[in-house]
Symmetry: C2
Subunit: 302 residues, 2 copies
């Protein structure tokens, strides 16, 4: 099985790649080849028992997507994107990286003909915008209040139409926020929806193995997670890592980030994801423990 990953050099991309190499298989089928793409050449991870190719590619450039899928990979993890703040600050760059690149990829797949890869698209809960109900149901309107959320929502729509048309087997998974910043640009009262990077990788892998019939027509799914405030996160960090670690958080209010986050969703009823077998942490304590295990080798300087 040939697996292609775009945005392979990013935080989730690196973790996903490491996981794929560790397992050596995806959905029960051995991986024979792994292609890693990003805007700069991604690092080649160690320990692979199969062929790995890496390349620098800007998918928003004409012809780039066709080159990316020239060898018709069986599974494509499409993670390449610019983040929310950048997409808000630079309108053109955001639409190029987050919309035109995905459009190019879908179109390149369609043009091959007689080719129907599995495409796992990393979407975001930023597709939702205020005003919100107490918890957002699976059938809530995607009416984003950021350019990033708009771009992800457009990609979800294109992905669903191309899947319905039979050009590919798409699944879009709306990842909760998985930040690791030590700078705190928002107030502690801010509430949001979270899962760990480890859970995000598990979502991607699980999505790649989902059968089309199980998904039905609505192929874009909000991922599980849990709702908590920044203050609750800091309290969890203090509990597990101690007050000295928690004291390293620098409070640097940022008006742009505050405005973006104010329109973000805070809580979900992610019933469909649960039915489809996606699993996430249930508390921020679990996320911190996963971080200590995955990033710090199980220990840290208190």
């Amino acid at each position: 099985m040939h697996v292609l990953c775009t945005g392979a050099g990013g935080m989730i991309g690196r973790k996903l790649t490491a996981q794929l190499i560790k397992e050596g298989a995806l959905g029960g089928r051995p991986i024979s080849r792994l292609t890693l793409l990003d805007i700069e050449v991604p690092d080649v991870p160690a320990g692979a028992r199969h062929r790995i190719a890496t390349a620098a590619l800007d998918l928003s450039m004409l012809g780039a997507a066709a080159r990316a899928i020239a060898d018709t990979p069986d599974v494509i993890f499409h993670l390449a994107a610019v983040v929310s703040g950048e997409a808000e600050a630079d309108f053109e760059k955001g639409y190029a990286a987050n919309c035109a690149a995905t459009r190019g990829l879908l179109e390149a797949i369609r043009q091959v003909g007689d080719y129907r890869p599995k495409l796992v698209f990393a979407s975001s809960i930023a597709v939702y915008g205020a005003p919100f109900p107490e918890a957002i149901p699976d059938d809530f309107i995607r009416a984003p209040l950021t350019s990033y959320g708009t771009q992800k929502a457009i990609c979800e729509l294109m992905l669903a139409d191309c899947s319905r048309r039979g050009f590919l087997d798409g699944v879009g998974i709306r990842l909760p926020t998985a930040g690791e910043e030590a700078v705190l640009p928002v107030a502690e009262s801010v509430r949001h929806w979270f899962a760990s990077p480890r859970a995000a990788v598990a979502f991607l892998v699980h999505a790649a193995g989902l059968e089309r019939d199980r998904l039905g027509p609505h192929i874009n799914v909000t991922m599980p997670g849990f709702s908590c405030t920044v203050g609750e996160q800091i309290a969890a960090l203090t509990r597990i890592a101690g007050p000295k670690v928690a004291a390293r958080i620098r409070r640097e209010p940022d008006a742009l980030v505050e405005r973006i986050v104010s329109g973000w969703p805070q809580n979900f009823h992610a019933h469909r994801a649960a039915e489809l077998g996606f699993v996430a942490e249930k508390s921020f304590d679990e996320i911190i423990r996963a971080h200590i295990e995955d990033e710090l080798g199980g220990t840290f300087v208190n």
Copy 2:
């Protein structure tokens, strides 16, 4: 005031043009200039007291949108589109006419700088796809099951983001179905959401006059109408126009149309539209009477 209308040669475009010429004003401001665009040169309607320009323009062509708005019209009615059946039959044509053209128009407006026209976008209730609740609320997910609906949903998202960014004052109105076919390609049990072409023109004109503050962040609004079955429509026609007229309906089942329509919404709670002052008919009898008045000069051969 300079008013631009794309898709001016279509059914709704012609009716809107006639209405604008008859009124000579829009939102209380006199119309000094009217520009009518379509893929073929639209007819110049009679009776205008102001300047009218017509031109053939394919907005999906490079540079066409910039030419369309070169004289910075104050209000743009963007009606240009290919219809549902055509967009489903021809994937590329649908995305070019219904997506790329709108994207080009929005981008051309943005590029002008220091220009913020009112843009009224003719969207469609095809942005919704099954499964549906008993009646679709204003915050229901836009998860279309046709390429046409997907294209309209993508345009709604782009319009909302460009409005939020301040490039224009956009309003998207989801028009109910306003068919006039004598051929019946679906079963009489098919239920759908209707308003007259006369009501659709009134929606467009009302939308052009809506203040941005009244709209809020969710600028795309489902238009009012009423829900009825094809059988109920035929019964209304028999009541008002007599059995001879109703007998002119040719039943010619069409599998593609049946499939498209099966994923269409049947009923709405269009509360926001009502709050914003949009008004439609309440029965199919009213639609038939409007048709007899507007299209047949108040009479017809029984």
